[in-house]
Amino acid sequence: MEKDNSVKTMKSAKTLKTAREAGYFGKKMLTDAIKAQEEGHPIGWSMVSWWQGDFIAKAMGMHLVYPENYGAFCAAVRQAEPYLEIADSEGFPNNLCGYARNCLGFAKCLRDNNYVIPEGAPGGGLARPVLMLASGCACDARYKWFQSLGRYLNDVPVWNLEMPQTGVKEYYLPGNKEKNLRFIVAELREFVKFMENLLKKKLDYDKLHAMLDQALKTLNLAWQVDLLRRAVPSPMVSQDFWSVMIPHFYLPDDPEAYSFYERVYAEVKEKVDNGIGAIPNEKYRMMFSELPPWHSIGFFDELAKRYGIAMVMESWNYHAPTPMAEEELHGINDPLEIIARLTYHKWMEHNTVAREFDTAPGFFNAAYLRWAQEYKADGFFAHPLLSCRPATYTLMHTRNSLEEKLKVPGVVVPGDIIDLRVFNSDEGFSKVEAFVETMDHYRELRKEAGMAW
C-alpha cells in the first residue's frame, strides 16, 4: 500500500473571490526575493515594523521578506512542525514565539545547506539576507529573535528600529507627540545612514516619497474596505481578511497591491449594495483577537456553518489605519517624517476611544471598544497564544472591558499561531456552542440598556 504523504490542512474556503487570489502576494514576496538574489540584489529579512523601515529599505533596492509572514505561511500549509522540531532540538524552548522558532529552524537548515535554500522549503523559502531589520514595536520577544539568528547568520547585521509606545495619559501630555515624532525621525535618519553605508549607495528621497504616496493610497483603500464591513449582514469575514491583509500590510507601496484593493473594494461593495452576507444566515457577529491559528483557519468556516457566526472584525494591528487628517501631513515634505507620522498614527489612533472609556493601553485594547459599536458585535473571540506574550497580555483585560462597558461577552479559546499541537478545535467548538447562549443573553441585556445593537 502506498504511503499517504499528503498534509491534512484545515484551510478556510474564504468567501471572497479576491481573498482566494490574495495568496499570490505572499508567494510573490518569496519568489521575487529569490529571483532578486540570483540577480545580485540585496535581501533583507524584516520584522513587521508598521511601515517604519520597509519603505526605506525597498527604496534603496533591497528586497524584503518577512519571517513572521513566512511562519504564518508554513503553519497554513501545515509545514511548520519540522522547523519547530529543529528549533526544539537546538535548545530553543517551545514557549518562545512560534514565528521565531519556525524562523530559527529554517535558518539552521539554510546554514546547514551552505546558505542555499533547502529543496522543498515551503513557498520556495527565504532567500539569504544581508540585513535583518528588527523592530521594537509591539513585541518584547522580537528583540532577542533576530539576535539569536546570529547563531546561523553570524555575518548579517541586525538593525533595530524603535518607536515610543506611550500610555494614554502620556499621549495627551503637551508636546509629547512632537517629541515622539522627533525621536522616530532621528531613528530613521540613523537607519538611512546605516543603509547607505551597508549598500554603498545613497537613498533616493524622491523615489521614497513616490512609494509613500502609493502606500498611503493603498492603505486608504484598505481602510475603506473595513468601513464596508460594518454592513449587516457582514460582506466579508476574518477568513477573508487574513488573506486580503497581505498586500496592504507588506506591500502597500506596490501598485499591484492598490489594483488588488480596487477589486476587493468592488467585490465587497457589490455585496453590501445587494445585502449579501459573507456567510448565509448570519446570526451572530463576533470580533476576533489576536493572531489566528494559521493552521486551522477553516475552524471559523465551521463556526459559521454550525452557529451562523460571522467574524466581522479582527485584530487591530493588522488593519490599515484611519487616514491621517490633512493637517497632519500639510507642509511635510520630508518622507522620513511622513513615515514617522504614519507609524505613530497607526499606534496612537485609538487613544481618543481609550480616553473616552478610561482604559489603557490605547493599542491592543481600545480599538475593540470602538469596533464593538461600529460593527455591532455580539461577542468577542479571544485567542490567547501559547507562544505570544504581547498578544495575550491584554486579551483578558479587553474581554472584561467589552463585557463591563458595552455588554459584549467574550469566549476564550486558547491555541497558537504556529503550533497546532496546542489547538483543540473540538474543545473550541464546545465552548462556542455554549457561548451562543451567552451572546443571546447579552443581546437581551443590551436591549434592556437601550443600546443600539
Binding site: 463585557e403 461577552p409 476564550v412 465552548k431 456552542e433 455554549a434 457561548f435 447562549e437 451567552t438 443573553h441
Partner: protein, 259 residues
C-alpha cells in the same frame, strides 16, 4: 412529552437520568472504568429498570460528556456547559454561579434566570485543576475517594505542597507519606491546593448570587469548606452533584425536539 433520558458519559463516571414530563423520576451513576460504550449502556439500562421502563418507552435521549460518541443508541449531543447550567437551574433555580469540578477539568459558569450560560471559564488542561488529582492521591494514600471528606476533617496540620503540577504533587505526597505525615494532613493540604486554584477562577468570574458546586469533587466536603472560606461565600451542594449534566442534556433535548 413522555420519557426522556439524559446521559453524561464522563471519563471517571457515567450518569443517566430519566425524566417523565420534565420530572426527574430515576437516575443511576457508576464508574466508567475506561469502558465508555459499556458503561453508557449500563447506566441507561439501570436508570430505566429503576422505574420499570424499557428503552422503547423513551421518546428522546440527550447526552454529553467525553465519551458521548460511544453511546450506541440514537441521541442528541448537547454541549456540556449548557447541560450543567440547565441541570443546576432545574434543581436549584435561584443559583447563578456554578462551580463544576469533574475528572477532566474545572468549570465556572454564570447562569441566566432561565438556566442558560451567561458566562463561563474552563480550567487549563491540567490535572491539578480537576478531580483527576483526587484519584491520583487516593491511589498514593491507598484510600477510597469517599473517605477524603471524613479524613480531611481530622487534619491537625495540613501539609504544604510547593507545586501546582499533578506529577510533582504526587511525588511530594509520596515524600510526605515517607516522612510519616498523617494522610489526613496530606488530604487537607491537597484540598487547599485545589481550592486555591479553583478559587482563582471563580474570582475571575466574579461570584454572583447563590453559588453551587457540582461534579464528583463536590462530594469532598473538606474542599467545599475551604472554598467557602477562600471565596467568602456560601457554596451549596445538591444531594446528587454528579447528575446535573445528564439532567440538562435531557431537558435541552426534549425542549429542542418539542419546539
Amino acid at each position: 412529552m413522555g420519557y426522556t433520558a439524559g446521559l453524561d458519559i464522563g471519563s471517571a463516571y457515567s450518569k443517566a437520568v430519566i425524566l417523565e414530563d420534565g420530572e426527574l423520576v430515576s437516575y443511576y451513576v457508576k464508574p466508567t472504568g475506561g469502558k465508555f460504550a459499556l458503561s453508557a449502556d449500563l447506566v441507561l439500562e439501570e436508570a430505566l429498570q429503576k422505574v420499570g421502563l424499557s428503552l422503547a418507552k423513551l421518546r428522546y435521549i440527550g447526552a454529553c460528556g467525553l465519551g458521548v460518541t460511544f453511546i450506541s443508541e440514537t441521541f442528541n449531543k448537547v454541549t456540556e456547559l449548557s447541560c450543567h447550567t440547565r441541570g443546576v437551574h432545574y434543581l436549584m433555580p435561584t443559583v447563578r454561579t456554578v462551580i463544576e469540578i469533574g475528572n477532566q477539568s474545572a468549570r465556572v459558569m454564570k447562569t441566566t434566570p432561565k438556566g442558560k450560560v451567561a458566562d463561563s471559564i474552563i480550567s487549563d488542561k491540567c490535572a491539578t485543576g480537576s478531580g483527576r488529582i483526587m484519584h491520583i492521591m487516593a491511589k498514593v494514600l491507598r484510600t477510597d475517594l469517599e473517605d477524603f471528606s471524613r479524613l480531611s476533617d481530622k487534619a491537625t496540620k495540613p501539609a504544604k505542597f510547593t507545586t501546582n503540577c499533578a506529577v510533582f504533587l504526587e511525588t511530594e505526597a509520596i515524600s510526605r507519606v515517607a516522612e510519616g505525615t498523617p494522610k489526613e494532613d496530606i488530604i487537607a493540604g491537597l484540598n487547599q491546593t485545589l481550592a486555591g486554584k479553583i478559587s482563582a477562577m471563580v474570582h475571575r468570574m466574579k461570584i454572583e448570587a447563590d453559588c453551587v458546586m457540582t461534579g464528583g469533587v463536590a462530594l469532598n466536603a473538606g474542599l467545599v469548606s475551604i472554598m467557602e472560606k477562600e471565596l467568602g461565600h456560601k457554596i451549596q451542594v445538591p444531594d446528587e452533584p454528579m447528575i446535573t449534566g445528564a439532567i440538562g442534556a435531557a431537558l435541552i433535548t426534549a425542549e429542542k425536539a418539542e419546539n
